[in-house]
């Protein structure tokens, strides 16, 4: 299992994302003898071995099912618990695209946070690229370090460091991460409480030979203000702040309720009411153009009770009974429904470039 390429069949030691529902995707590492227990069933690792990634798997006791998914940075990010601070795909995909992160790009990221964006950087830069990730908070650093090792993120180097105070330089860069003894980052991503304190340290670690892009990720507008000023003071150009709004829509069906059926139903009610009255009181129903009062009026309580005995009557829209969405006995219209909770803000994204001057 690797974030750098797909494999087809599951083996022991592989990571599988067990898709239980849209809201529940659980990462597991396959180990003989173990079992995944969910409220939708129990799933033995032994049986997963040899199955195809993507396969649907039935539960051990004959009920429930999951799908066995191959990890990708995008699925990984939605499998993380929501309490963690995560840079989700609408933001990360835009940052990657806008800063032209491709195979071979050298990325500087601080802080690592949940490590979700690190995965996307690692995948996109590939084995020819390098990701230098910095995390200040030690427990989180250790957790991320282990996770990156478990996930074989070979092109990623995580460092325990408060970059705001101590900068980005690494004394002993492993040789295969070094570019002429230096970091030489092409792209910088700062998800820090005070990026303006880190920006002055960047000059020592960014590329000396090509244009460098940066994105600073800050929730509050006042942080943006300070960030812009710091970027300006440190020679960054083309500064532009943006926001990304990501929305997700589900497919739904809405019942087509035609007026003809409404009218038919109202007529049915009237005729049954008239019939009821006739039966009960033997009142002669006028066969004229206009209606007898009793056919339209039912504010007489005793009438109502009696009508109920006449049965359910014509009901075109299944009111009162539960109509299953998409029931073929009814006509439906496809509609899109927005997710029930939308992310109205993630952070402000401040982009800029640094162009090292060229001696000519």
């Amino acid at each position: 299992m690797s974030f750098y390429q797909y494999k087809d069949y599951i083996e022991e030691g592989d990571i599988v994302l067990a898709f239980i529902s849209r809201q529940a995707i659980k990462p597991i590492t396959i180990k003989k003898g173990e079992q995944l227990n969910t409220r939708y069933g129990h799933f033995q690792h032994d049986k997963m071995i040899g199955m195809k990634y993507g396969e649907q798997m039935g539960g051990a006791r004959g009920y429930g099912f999951i799908y066995l998914l191959h990890p990708t940075p995008e699925l990984w990010s939605i499998s993380l618990p929501h309490r963690t601070q995560i840079v989700y795909t609408p933001d990360s995909s835009y940052i990657i695209q806008r800063l032209n992160v491709t195979s071979g790009t050298r990325v500087i990221e601080a802080g690592t946070g949940s490590g979700s964006f690190t995965h996307a950087f690692a995948r996109t830069t590939g084995l020819n690229g390098r990701v230098f990730s910095y995390e200040f908070h030690e427990p989180r650093y250790l957790e991320a370090k282990k996770e990156f090792e478990d996930h074989n993120l070979e092109n990623t180097l995580i460092t325990h460091r408060d970059v705001c105070h101590h900068g980005f330089e690494i004394e002993t860069i492993p040789e295969h991460f070094s570019s002429n003894g230096s970091i030489e980052g092409d792209v910088v991503f700062l998800d820090l409480p005070s990026p303006w304190t880190a920006i002055p340290h960047l000059k020592k670690v960014i590329s000396t030979t090509n244009r460098v892009g940066i994105c600073c990720f800050s929730p509050c507008i006042e942080q943006v203000d300070k960030t812009i000023k710091s970027l300006q003071e440190n020679g960054w150009i083309n500064i532009e702040m943006t926001e990304v709004a990501g929305r997700r829509w589900e497919a739904r069906k809405e019942l087509v309720r035609d007026i003809k059926d409404v009218v038919k139903r109202l007529k049915d009610i009237q005729s049954r009411k008239g019939q009821g009255i006739e039966n009960r009181r033997n009142v002669k129903v006028q066969a004229g153009e206009k209606r007898e009062f009793s056919e339209v009026d039912n504010d007489d309580d005793t009438d109502d009770q009696k009508f109920e005995n006449l049965g359910k009557g014509y009901n075109p829209f299944g009111k009162g009974i539960r109509v299953k969405e998409g029931d073929e006995n009814y006509e439906w219209r496809n509609v899109t429904k927005i997710e029930s909770e939308i992310k109205t803000h993630t952070s402000y994204l401040t982009f800029a470039y640094y162009v090292p001057s060229k001696e000519t």
Partner: protein
């Protein structure tokens, strides 16, 4: 210009009064509707209870805190900090200061640690003790602060989880509330919180756009389809304030006006302004008119008392139905306001003749796809000019100077409106120029 005509208010909108419904806004951002009876006690559940008489006489918008014996004290706003002298313990932190602190840590969230129950040093027993220790309502605030100060990792939590934490705690302990007039936004908010599908996901801003694009104003005469139980009708009535009228078409035997029970309109005023008619009566007026002939005086005099009452009731109802059918037949309504799940491409052509020239057509739906079909139907029907689907979305901010940012999440709803103008096309003799 009727400068010296003093309009009799149908209910008190300014001062909290008896025998009226009010909206109670709770620290949890929950809302509740209560009816203020003299001698009545309003129960806010875990927030406590108070005597209605304690709030009556204050202006709508006034905040209160519950003190001993179901009494209340007015406070300047729901986040107000009580005097330090009333406090028993340190640290003294106002809600604003707390919020500042929480937000502050967003700029310094590097120390976030995983907070389990172990760091929350206040036990349930501690909380119970605190609850007992003071009769004053600021105990709620105190408990929150104590919990926060006892919460080792609190200032290290992320802004998001802190907000959630504070809200959860406020919800649990603060005994404060605000009494508000039930305007149409408040009524809508109540149902959004309580039962969003019932109001078909209409947001406040979309309701506002329905009323503005529909040109709703005092004195108008509107044709209305409202499946929200009356929230839209209420919003229209509030804009009209006793002047004008509407015909509401519905699909059942009885119209559902359940939301209007909080409206506190005098029954006769409501009946005068809001006429109801079902679709059968609307579409087949001649068939549905009720055959009614008054009996002569002699015959009436000979009726038994019970029969007389029935006769009069039926006479009134027949006349009502026939008169509404007449109003609908006559048409020339000042707008069509439609909030319905009925399939409009087949229904709309039946309604359009009833709308006056140059009047707005406003159709709401939760789903843009449904309006799209109606919009296409309008475009081939020449009687609606320039139909557009309009989406209005409000984004709210955490409004703390120095810590401004949009709210991180919101519920996904709001809906769309389709707005066009009823026009009268020429049958022939029109040659377009330069347009497709």
């Amino acid at each position: 210009m009727s400068s010296d005509i003093e309009v009799k208010p149908v209910k008190n909108e300014k001062v909290i009064s008896f025998n009226q419904h009010v909206l109670i806004r709770l620290p949890s951002e929950g809302v509740k509707i209560a009816y203020l009876k003299e001698e009545g006690i309003i129960n806010l559940g875990k927030f406590g209870s108070f005597q209605a008489s304690g709030v009556v006489g204050y202006n709508f918008g006034q905040s209160f805190e519950i003190i001993e014996d179901e009494n209340v004290n007015p406070i300047s706003f729901i986040g107000e900090v009580a005097d330090a002298s009333e406090r028993e313990d340190t640290p003294e932190l106002s809600k604003d200061e707390l919020t500042m602190m929480f937000s502050n840590s967003a700029e310094n969230n590097q120390n976030i640690i995983n907070i389990g129950s172990k760091v929350q040093q206040l036990s349930n027993a501690d909380i119970d003790e605190l609850k007992k220790s003071g009769a004053s309502s600021n105990i709620g605030q105190q408990i929150i602060e104590k919990m926060i100060s006892g919460h080792g990792g609190f200032d290290k939590k992320t802004i998001f989880s802190q907000q959630k934490y504070l809200k959860r705690k406020q919800q649990k302990f603060l005994r404060r509330f605000t009494v508000e007039y039930i305007g149409s936004s408040e009524l809508l908010e109540y149902f959004i919180v309580k039962d969003l599908p019932r109001v078909h996901g209409i947001s406040e801003e979309t309701l506002g756009s329905i009323l503005s694009y529909g040109n709703i104003r005092p004195g108008g005469n509107y044709l209305v389809i409202d499946e929200t139980g009356g929230v839209v009708i209420y919003a229209m009535l509030e804009r009209m304030k006793g002047e004008g009228s509407m015909v509401v078409v519905h699909e059942n035997e009885h119209v559902n006006f359940s939301a209007l029970k909080y409206a506190d309109y005098p029954e006769d005023l409501q009946n005068e302004m809001v006429k109801t008619i079902n679709w059968l009566q609307f579409l087949e007026p001649e068939n549905e008119k009720i055959l009614w002939e008054d009996v002569d005086d002699e015959e009436f005099a000979n009726m038994k008392t019970s029969k007389k009452a029935q006769y009069e009731r039926r006479s009134k109802r027949a006349n009502y139905i026939n008169s509404v059918i007449e109003v609908a037949k006559k048409g020339n309504f000042d707008a069509l306001i439609c909030v319905s799940t009925l399939h409009l491409p087949t229904l709309l052509p039946e309604i359009l003749p009833k709308i006056g020239g140059s009047r707005p057509i406003v159709v709401y739906s939760q789903f843009k796809e449904l309006l799209l079909d109606t919009q296409h139907c309008m475009m081939s029907d020449k009687r609606v000019l320039a139909p557009s689907i309009i989406e209005t979305r409000v984004r709210k901010y955490q409004t703390i100077p120095g810590r401004l940012h949009p709210l991180m999440t919101s519920r996904g709803y709001g809906g769309y409106i389709l707005w066009g103008t009823r026009v009268i096309p020429q049958e022939s003799g029109i040659t377009a120029v330069g347009r497709g």
